[in-house]
Symmetry: C3
Subunit: 345 residues, 3 copies
């Protein structure tokens, strides 16, 4: 594809280089780790040095004089867009054809006769589908997946290899469940007794609304009664644990190794960075954010960013952590002051 | 079932409403997210507002005048019991029949001829059982499970889909291993050398005593020599990592994403909240507790609750973390005092 | 085997007991949890008490008068070596024959005809190998493993049960992937838009160089473009998450539940202890170390040890955390000083 045609296909550029219309673009690449005849992108000045070294032939840029000057000096083909990352995502989609198995049912799959299978469904080798499952149209189920009884999978959803969907779980349309994840498993519900732990049966179920994505080796439990619910368009990374009865709003994003304990309720567009923990029965308002490793409990108001453990306002955390390394010195200073003032310490 | 009959079946109520003996109870529900003709429960005044809004027709209460007043005002059928959560667990068990596959061996399961299989065992599709396994009576093995050679599974234990039990592991009776978990895997044992890491073979094995439960996507390693041992009735949540040679006592509970490093020894009824880490060769006494995200190392005495990283007494942690957000202000105050006193800072 | 012969076979002892050449050694054991007629080891004086109680008949020791005195007093056979742990690893290898399935292809395995399979390969029951895979010589693939299309597995590598290798991933020679791990899965790449999250296709791939080991239930993502690369001889424990585009050097070691976010670059011999988090686009120099639960971001110089969150120099962390429990007391002291000095607080 010529650069000129790429610009046209992406259809989002405010401006683009006119000296290089015929540069052949055959793929995409990262700004470093790049090859000639590929297009890359640069989001901000932070990546200026990388732009100076890229081997790519074309670059997608934001409105930024300095980056543009570099691109020009390097003789790169360039296009300026409102959101370079967004445009780059679309450039990838132009060149990359994700692997999709053909819409056939492998003869080694074991499918209960009571299961309802939609049109145009791909079911891989050694898949197991138990009784009364309902599989929508154009669903893709990769090898080794296990569906317990009475599971529902919405249209066009993709279940990657070896993931497990437990009884009664309802996966919406256009969801992706990555390899090794477990949806709708039993919540961790035990009652302490003198003799040990009494198991509380987990009679509820888990619901994933449409466009939810769940990373590898994550688990989303079901509650003893009622439902666990993940809101539409929420994206969940790898090794995330979501406890029984959690409810999340729409378009949340949870990074890897996040844990959300039972009964917590999160609003829309809540963002949890890596390794965040959210305690039992917590509340997080719309648009709230917890930075990496934060321990949230009680409640976080809408729009607020919190950090640290226990979680405090992010700016306060930054101020406090900036002096954390001076704690010992502060302690000594107080002792000296007390001594000078003749105070007991 | 009529409310009167439910009260009788549960057999634990101190007192119950007499005006509503014939209310039909057809199931259980959470206090919110509830339906008419179900029974719910309320543990404490914390849930008073939820009780005011519940759609349930009956409620299990502790001895608490205020909750009782609400229940009466709402016209709910009520019963007062010593431990509402315990009684609710039994109410669930009355109405909910957990999924249990029939005691047959699926023809697609691959079972080594040397394996000994007990009576009344369910083995699901695509299960693999290697040489010399011993499977007790009434065991349930869900689809896609893999047992390496010389594994022992005690009577009535349940292995959920795709879990893996490594060579020589011994699972007791009445255990539950959830989907995706790996028991008896190789410990992380490498010796640093000039050329890199020399692998130490892991010749030991892992033992789970009776009534142990392990959540989804957890792993319990075996040691280079000797055994890793999880004590009777210990309950382990999802994404938990237990290192080589760890020993735990009875009736411990480990919440999600806990990690216990190699060689640690825990007493009975030790509780680790979510994302706790226990360092190499640590010791925790009977009944000790670590709150969420705590980093334990060295040793924790019996009965003690610790928090923070590094772990300190929980009350001390609460006091210190209460002033953490004032650190910057404290630092400035010390500077001002030093200035006023003409001290070097 | 007689003790004399064991010493000879190990070939590393500086000195050994001559009074006990004929003690029969039939195996290895931990210093406690030990049996007669086994050999154990003791690395340092820390284990002196355990040495006083061991049931083992022989012990591998470092050059240490006190340990030697104990061994002699106990009548143990002993050998002194430069690195007891290293020698013990070799002693295990003398007595322990790890389980290795025979080099056959199980008839239930589903292998695409386009896959190239080397010599002497073991492929277990219910394995699935998709199109264009290249499997080297002497590879072992345990039951239930799934290889997506165009995967490469180097000679002698071992893939444990139910692990999943995604499209285009390249596993080097002599690697071990433990049960439940997922290699080359889609990176967590989404672009925020007004309507929610736009998926960025992950067109890259993951490379594991030779002698890499990955624990159970870990995941190593692939990037949107380019590669994720794990350097030769790097060892990764259980439940570890490695994000898209991460590059590590050689001989790194990552303990359980470590998370490394997208785009981070680590040098050679970097060590991350349990539950460490490394933020997006971080840099860690050769030989740097992060202690347990550390939150790394920005950059860590070569050779440096960091701790805490946010990460600071390890010695500073020790000093600060030593006074953390006195924070409340410090705060009160400052208030009293201010009062005494008539300062506003």
């Amino acid at each position: 594809m010529r650069f000129k045609d790429l610009v046209e296909k992406l259809g989002q550029s405010v401006k683009s280089s006119s000296e290089t219309p015929d540069v052949e673009i055959t793929g995409v690449s990262a700004v470093l780790d790049s090859k000639p005849n590929t297009v890359t992108y640069s989001e901000s000045l932070k990546f200026a040095n990388q732009l100076r070294e890229t081997q790519a032939s074309a670059v997608i840029l934001p409105e930024n004089e300095e980056l543009l000057t570099i691109a020009k000096a390097r003789g790169l083909a360039w296009m300026i867009v409102a959101n370079p990352r967004y445009t780059f995502a679309q450039a990838i989609a132009l060149f990359y054809q994700p692997y999709k198995p053909s819409a056939t049912i492998h003869p080694s799959a074991i499918i209960d006769p009571s299961a309802q299978i939609g049109e145009n469904v791909a079911i891989g080798a050694h898949v197991v589908i138990e009784a009364n499952a309902k599989i929508g149209d154009s669903v893709v189920i990769h090898p080794g997946v296990v569906l317990y009884p009475e599971v529902t999978i919405g249209d066009r959803s993709v279940l990657h290899a070896t993931c497990v969907i437990h009884e009664r779980a309802r996966i919406g349309a256009d969801c992706v469940i990555h390899a090794g994840s477990v949806i709708g498993s039993e919540g961790f519900g035990f009652v302490p007794t003198r003799e040990g732990w009494l198991k509380m049966e987990q009679s509820g179920y888990t619901v994933l609304e449409d466009f939810v994505e769940v990373g590898c080796n994550s688990s989303i439990d079901r509650p003893s009664v009622g439902e666990t619910r993940i809101g539409r368009n929420t994206k969940i990374d790898n090794c995330v644990q979501i406890g029984h009865g959690v409810k999340t709003g729409e378009a949340c994003a949870f990074a890897a190794q996040v844990g959300i304990a039972g009964g917590s309720v999160l609003g829309n567009r809540v963002i949890l960075a890596g390794q965040v923990g959210v305690g039992n029965e917590s509340r997080m308002g719309d648009g709230s954010v917890a930075s990496a490793k934060t321990g949230v409990h009680a409640s976080v108001p809408a729009g607020k960013t919190v950090s640290g453990y226990p979680a405090v306002d992010h700016r306060v955390f930054l101020r406090s952590s900036a002096v954390y390394s001076k704690l010992s010195e502060m302690y000594q200073a107080i002792k000296q002051i007390q001594k000078k003032l003749g105070m007991d310490s």
